[in-house]
Symmetry: D2
Subunit: 321 residues, 4 copies
């Protein structure tokens, strides 16, 4: 269950402080000349942070391409890549070995697997979005050849600088727009375009909400306010408004697909919190380490990347018949 | 893409006005004595409606069990079932044959398939939730043997009676709670319990938003407000609060899983709307027929059913090792 | 695990003596006008038997189409169908309730599920090939539009009439040829065209061997005898011989794909056999009932049907990029 | 389609002369202490060759473990590994850039992808079995904890030394036995244990035939000769003979699973062969390079590895209910 996609599929691997983190893209079209500068730049976007709100870990994040390429061109075979965790300092985390950080995955992983990787967040770390961003960058290249673009931005973020002073953290909301999509993408029952997006977004750490078009606000509208009427423009039938966020019956209608993703605050606080250790004793924890105050600056490109993976998969599915 | 689940899998079929609608449950445990009364009752819940707000179609919805059973006990082979569309009146829909109903799937299906079933909503009709409710009832039986219960309710609904008088419709929000789940369910990367729930809920018609725990509200909290601390109770480590909705890192933590689903208003309005016909001419449409004013009374049991399907699948996945 | 195919997918259901047997075709292209006469004729081929060698059960095998069609044309939604088991006489099998028939699946099903359907072969019956033949007939229609044809025949069969006199049964070998395939079908690693065919053929009851091209005989050839050289014909590069059976590296080369399937004798013997009952006591069994002396006359069309399912799936996969 | 398995899943990547070759094992149980010596030894078995019959390439094949481990113990997250292609000499293959080697995958890959990796066999090289052997070694460890063992051996091989003198190659047959399997493994319809094995074996390069139990010979037997009767031994019902190769109705019966795999001769001949180049001109080719005379010495451990992958997957599937 570390694979996303039906045809254009990404399998990821790696823990935050293991040897390496990476992925395998299976089903990537052949004869695509990878734009390595673009991909590196996407990785840099993942690290673009305001000094005040972001962790200080400075991994070089140099991508090593392992397979699937000949002279930079895809062969149709799996494109594997990795980034070494060169800056890993597991000893920083030694103090966390026996205590469950509140609202982290420490406890749930231990319940699931009977052990956990205490070095950083292990498999639950936000570092696991790195291979998603790399594969998303490849997907964006595939997508662009079909005239589809994706753009996400932060539309709400808590007051990060004040939170940082208080040893606290904040959350926020990212909005994403997919432009240039043909009508007819998505499967009608269990692979609706909206459902695939929702699934993908909930794969990101700290996501607690997803809505498409006018989303939760539509629950308070009347049908006559919420409906998107049709119109004729330049002899072509179009959907005149976009309350639906570009999707009807789970299938794209030719309008921009617009959705929003809610991120909770990062759970690692410098402030002391009550918790319990592995021996079942109540204790206090204050997490120093290198941690962001807000996930959003890094999350924007991850949202785009997952949207790109879902979009390319849907574009390829639509070519099948 | 008419299949949901990895191990406990449901494949559904049927259009609203075709011969029959039904499903195949693959991976259902053997030796389960089906409680047919309970299943029938769940179907009745799907039809429980306030007279004023609901469509008048009175299908008997008699389930015919086709396979997978010997004397009412599951054999381990696929459990297939169907309900005939006995009350189908396709002629009611003849007027809709050449016109796209606003915010319906008419246009998107036609773009995708090059034709569409104009008889009612076809495959996009809310009637396609019927096999989901049947399979969900089976899942609930499997789940109960492990002490897990699911309960959903409408927590917000627009003013249906007024909307009906105006030829309009309303939306709402359903909240669902899964109780008795063990910690450790869900896959950590692309099959997070939350992601599977999100995908499942967006498979329902008219869903535009999904949030778990405090959801979108968490985007405005500080970490110190949003975090769920641990505590020791009766010698057992528990999560003391439930802002996270029972899930950390995508995996259940032993608390109730709580989520909300936003439904847009039903798009079929008695009120006239502007639209376009298949010839590309602007026209007006007023949809009489038998249509609900609000999806929610029927949707509650569908939300539970999909949650049950996701839960049983996750329980079975957790047994594998 | 009652589903075959990646894109063009068939899910089957039904036991030999349950209410009905059928299937759901998911991923069937829209706008296909089904040739019901052809499909019925394929079902008749499945029943074409020499009087002396075949069982006497005369099910009418009337297909009821449940969904996915509008005026006989596919809608793109799942095409579900069923055939009722009208001639079922479970009481014939009452004597088999507590005894394991040698080389049948009675014992293995009971070990797997903790119970079994003793009415005929249940889910292990050759009757389960019925939905395969129906779906295969649909696949043949899809395939033909692309100029691909499939033809199977019995190339070896034991002496059925003598075996029948002795209360015994015989096996045989079916050879199948797929003609008109483009080069480039099949996936290179774990979805090789040959591997998908092998998997499909071993899904049929009584299959114990599968070989492609010169098959097992190639183990005794030298490379210089076994290799298929290239030649130029009408300005086109072709493979001049066909020891490989149309496949190199798992991918079609443009030649006919040729493979053979070995069927063991039907295990139901009128002759008495030593066995054990459910109480763990040694006993004797002589199976009267209605049983074929040889599976092959019926199996030929099933081999074709599965080959058609694999072929259409591969054709659709090849369209994706 | 570079993934095998449903629960215990292996995704492989890499071309023979790319940067690296490797795999990702998803679904590996947590808390398994990997036996690295055993795994290395399995890789050595893959290289165990008679001097006279095997290629001279001497890759060190040092496995680098990238993820999924903490102090050598599996975490439950994906276990990724790779081996660098350090000894790669693509220039040796420059002459093959524009010519199709008979019975190789050069032509079919080019037809499929519009380009091909001319450096060695690329993705079609036998070197792609390396990650299969590594993952198979991990699977063997999982399997052993449940008392299951696998052993394969060459039961027929052509006269390799004479073939080598003639610039020719030979094929052969490998037999494999899985011991200690519980009854009840395998899915009854499309995931039969036999079908999964057949699919897996046809994933190996040069495989042209697969048979289980008495296989093709059963086509010439009578039912009374082919059937496996039941007997009682130490108070337990057992299958007294093993013509079926441990499988009935696709499900294990508790006996050893025994199957045979036919390999064609390696297609790379020192002897000149007629072929065609990419310009469509007839030409002659004599392949010098480093090539085995027979695939079998290396193939035995690959057969075992794939059988182990299929077995562990089936064992985990059987635990689900």
């Amino acid at each position: 269950m570390n694979t996303i996609g039906h045809i254009f599929r990404l399998t990821t691997f790696g823990e935050s402080h293991g040897t390496a983190i990476g992925g395998v893209i299976d089903g990537c079209p052949a004869r695509l000349e990878l734009d390595f500068d673009f991909i590196d730049n996407e990785l840099r976007r993942r690290k673009t942070v305001q000094t005040e709100t972001a962790s200080q870990r400075q991994e070089p994040d140099r991508i090593e391409w392992l397979s699937g390429l000949l002279d930079g061109v895809t062969l149709g075979s799996p494109v594997a890549f990795m980034v070494r965790n060169e800056d890993a300092k597991p000893e920083d985390y030694e103090v966390l070995k026996d205590v469950y950080r509140p609202s982290h995955a420490d406890f749930t992983y231990e319940q699931k697997y009977g052990l956990r990787d205490w070095r950083g967040g292990g498999r639950a770390s936000a570092r696991t979005t790195l291979p998603i961003v790399v594969a998303g960058a490849v997907a964006k290249q595939v997508m662009r050849e079909k005239g589809v673009e994706i753009q996400a931005e932060t539309v709400f973020m808590g007051d990060a600088e004040q939170a940082q002073r208080e040893g606290d953290t904040v959350g926020g909301v990212v909005e994403c727009r997919i432009m240039g999509l043909p009508a007819g993408l998505g499967e009608p029952m269990f692979g609706k375009f909206s459902a695939e997006l929702a699934h993908a977004m909930f794969s990101l750490p700290a996501v607690k909400g997803f809505e498409i078009g006018d989303g939760f606000a539509m629950a308070r509208m009347k049908g006559s306010e919420a409906n998107d009427g049709f119109a004729v423009k330049n002899g072509k039938t179009i959907v005149a408004t976009n309350h639906s966020g570009g999707i009807q019956g789970g299938i794209t209608n030719g309008n921009d697909v617009v959705f929003r993703v809610a991120f909770k605050p990062i759970p690692s606080l410098a402030k002391p919190q009550q918790t319990v250790n592995r021996a079942g004793e109540a204790c206090e924890i204050a997490i120093s380490g290198r941690h962001d105050v807000c996930a959003l600056p890094r999350a924007v490109v991850s949202v785009e990347a997952l949207a790109a993976l879902v979009t390319v998969d849907a574009l390829m599915m639509a070519n099948m018949q």
